[in-house]
Symmetry: C2
Subunit: 107 residues, 2 copies
DNA sequence: TTATTATATAATCAATTAATTATATATGTA
DNA sequence: TACATATATAATTAATTGATTATATAATAA
């Protein structure tokens, strides 16, 4: 697989609104699956499957802490993605709203 | 549609190897449909339909010259795409090879 | 005018994909 | 131990998509 094809595969991952929003959220801070589920108001399997694609594509890495799996960005080896995330709309507010609600799934 | 969704739609366009290669070619110089067909060795309708998606997505613009339709990049309003194209593998060689062959469709 | 070349569009089909539903696994707690 | 919570995986389905084939349009050349 050549470099263009590799880049296309990365863009394919970015080309879904849910996944791009997840990445924008992780661009603020690492999050566990249940937090992402709460913020995006979708089902847990839906998020888990998107996380697997992002992990397989090398865009995120996971770290297990107790029963929670935290995901964080893993794009240091992809400078064109780094530049890109500087221009993505910040999701800071959505994450802060989550922290204020009583329905936090973890803490 | 919010900004994230708009960006995702752009990445969806970049997320196809054929289209990303077309854009990388246009990053060298404007080309007509038949040149792109020759370089990518695929069918004319295939390229025409990709060009339409790229045009609908605002990534390229066209200009008709006689019976030929030339396409060129139209990404000045998308800084994150501009940065990106600085890091895409150059397709200069493939375009030069085309010019050397006798089978040019236009000139 | 007729033929040729360049391009676009429409219809079809196979393959891919995102989301849902159901189930399994793993960790923590009573 | 039994139960609850967090996550992953598998199966299914509907929708989308890329490529092909066939056809239409437009410009040029004979």
């Amino acid at each position: 697989m050549d470099e263009i094809e590799r880049m296309a595969d990365v863009f394919k991952l970015l080309g879904d609104k849910t996944r791009l929003t997840i990445l924008a959220l992780l661009n603020v801070k690492e999050l566990c699956v249940c937090e992402i589920v709460d913020i995006l108001m979708t089902s847990q399997p839906n998020i888990s499957q998107h996380m697997r694609k992002l992990k397989d594509g090398g865009l995120v890495k996971e770290s297990k802490k107790g029963q929670w799996v935290y995901y964080s960005l893993n794009i240091n080896d992809k400078p064109y993605i780094l530049d890109l995330f500087k221009q993505i709309p910040s999701q800071k507010e959505r994450i802060e709203q989550l922290s204020c609600s009583d329905e936090e799934c973890c803490n």
